[in-house]
Symmetry: C2
Amino acid sequence: MAGDKNFVLKGNICYSEDAKNLKLVEAGWLVCREGLCAGVFETLPEEYASYPVTDCGDQIITPGLVDLHVHAPQYAFRGLGMDLELLDWLNTNTFPEESKYRDLEYAKRAYGIFADSMRSSATTRACIFATIHNQATELLMDLMEETGLKTMIGKVNMDRNSPEYLCEESAEQSAADTVKWLEDTADQYENVRPILTPRFIPSCTDELMRKLKEVQKKYDLPVQSHLSENQGEIAWVQELCPESRFYGDAYDQFGLFGGDVKTIMAHCVSSTEEEIELMRERGVYVAHCPESNTNLSSGVAPVRTYLDKGVNVGLGSDVAGGSKESIFYAMAHAVQVSKLRWRLQDTSLKPLTVEEAFYLGTMGGGSFFGKVGSFMEGYEFDALILDDSDIRHPQPLSLKERLERFIYLSDERHIKGKIVAGNRIF
Amino acid sequence: MAGDKNFVLKGNICYSEDAKNLKLVEAGWLVCREGLCAGVFETLPEEYASYPVTDCGDQIITPGLVDLHVHAPQYAFRGLGMDLELLDWLNTNTFPEESKYRDLEYAKRAYGIFADSMRSSATTRACIFATIHNQATELLMDLMEETGLKTMIGKVNMDRNSPEYLCEESAEQSAADTVKWLEDTADQYENVRPILTPRFIPSCTDELMRKLKEVQKKYDLPVQSHLSENQGEIAWVQELCPESRFYGDAYDQFGLFGGDVKTIMAHCVSSTEEEIELMRERGVYVAHCPESNTNLSSGVAPVRTYLDKGVNVGLGSDVAGGSKESIFYAMAHAVQVSKLRWRLQDTSLKPLTVEEAFYLGTMGGGSFFGKVGSFMEGYEFDALILDDSDIRHPQPLSLKERLERFIYLSDERHIKGKIVAGNRIF
């Protein structure tokens, strides 16, 4: 909802300057000018004296959270059936559920629930997988547009290795449907943008990947897919693409792996050194999905390595591999699994800190959308107003402590305000 | 609050028969007779026709949850400071916080918050550590008595290796204070019982342990302590007790390790085979604390081994090693970390199933209290009435699916009723 995008929020402000540095400003003034951050001040500068001020009292103000990887059609079975590894899980739980979205009534019901939940959550920006179905995907886009969140949404491509009830007829059909989807939805939305979504290498013939590259170029689309999540999957890709040097190279051979193609690859749990180096070089984004990687027994991605090497990383809820859409929960889980990875797998990679987890869920993922995920000057003004007053404590707490607890202990009840690009959602 | 303990709950009933078998009865009748379960029926037997019936509609009814290990004084800093391993964490965060409980005003405030939270939670029975301070411990017992939960609460013993501000003067003083605490609180409570609580071997001189054995025998007390949580701790115990064959043997040498002494040992992450065998033989209870073991980078306990060998196991929140008092959350976390242990450490130990996690958090821990944690005939009637109606879903769900989702997705808002030993808490 458009409104006046010049205003001030006063409260206890927390935001990342980079992966290691968290800036905390108590009783600070956070200025939004024309939908962008004009800065965080200890005293309100004269030039903003005419701006309306929302005094958030003792509440905490943070940037909105970014979910780089979530499957909207799987929201229906979140918290269920996580007793299989990836490939079996897809065949047993996921593909049957996704096939239901050919029924628009079901899609409306299911996507309505998803959109409501995303609206209420702390997420301000998200990259979302839909299904192969054009109409359901367009319905999802309509619903997400209304939430006011800024999202990228993709009709999924799958022309092989899935059941007939969830498989596109041919590479040609899949590409044609993709173009139709793009044409049907062109210029319809302010908040939603399309993102090219080949499900993953096993789902997409070489021919389809080549056609999708043409589509990507023609429509100048970003791309999202999956990479190196699970050992069985990696071995399968090697069989399917025997000339690829590693899994990521299979995408790269089709020109769909970073460079001038903005790309998110979810998981990257077991990426080889070569693959990591290519991701770094090409600016590919890793969507780190700690809960999903745990629930499906895939392992723990070496996020420390990605941060150290300057590979772009953000967080993904990966519902329904993950059970919750909450990116605060993903932050806590990211710290937790990094500790188990350190203890059980590799003590050379130190666990993540709270500062780093916070960065991942805000600026780390936000940068995929541009200058998003921080309150540094010039950043798009996405913000959350958070009330931790019912998380009772007998002792005084610093702002840093309040933020850390918030990550571990809060839920959507504690989100009292949400702003995206200067627009108030609630 | 005593009341008529003959009544019926009608609803969707879930309970464990053992670690592997979850019984589900839709639209079933669960009869409480004299505070004990008389059974679960598909049709209400004639003999109970006069009993008042609470029709819970579509709600789910489960046994109450059991928290075998929680530190009441640490509730104040839950969700904070989990960036150190055990021994450093104790010295940096825990001991300073626990020392504040010499101040009764602080204790009242802090324990008031803890008691309220426990009351609202899904926990019906808990084994709780207090601090070394008699008065604060008695205050905690008063507060927990009022909640109606059945708890065992222990004044903690610590006469070495802690800062002077949180260390008892001598073994003699510690034992004398323990006796005074027991005498002061004898016969005061219906719901609270004392449990002997030597903090752990590093905190307790041999002399203190010997004196505590005398106290244990005289007052016929159960015992709770910590065991094999962390490598540094285990090594330290070996130094302190050079004649012990393993950590558990150090407790056993003082006669405080199962047999006719009901004993809970928290963690057991890195127990040796010998230690596990002794626990099994002696009926020692493992309080498995998955979140704490993760947050403090201790590792993952081999719960599968414990279940396979018939070692008693229940769950512990271990606040503030763990961030939440929720045992539903502990169930989910137990499944999750068992998957990472399988993937990263030992693929011979299959991950826990949802049925097993549910068992651990009800009957597994409940058996420490007697016939507790199930709806089989003769079990004490602890129950929860759970409403998952706001966890929206577009598709029909089976009762089993509803229970699984509930474990992952619920919070205390969803607990609509709570009964302990036939008494309605709310």
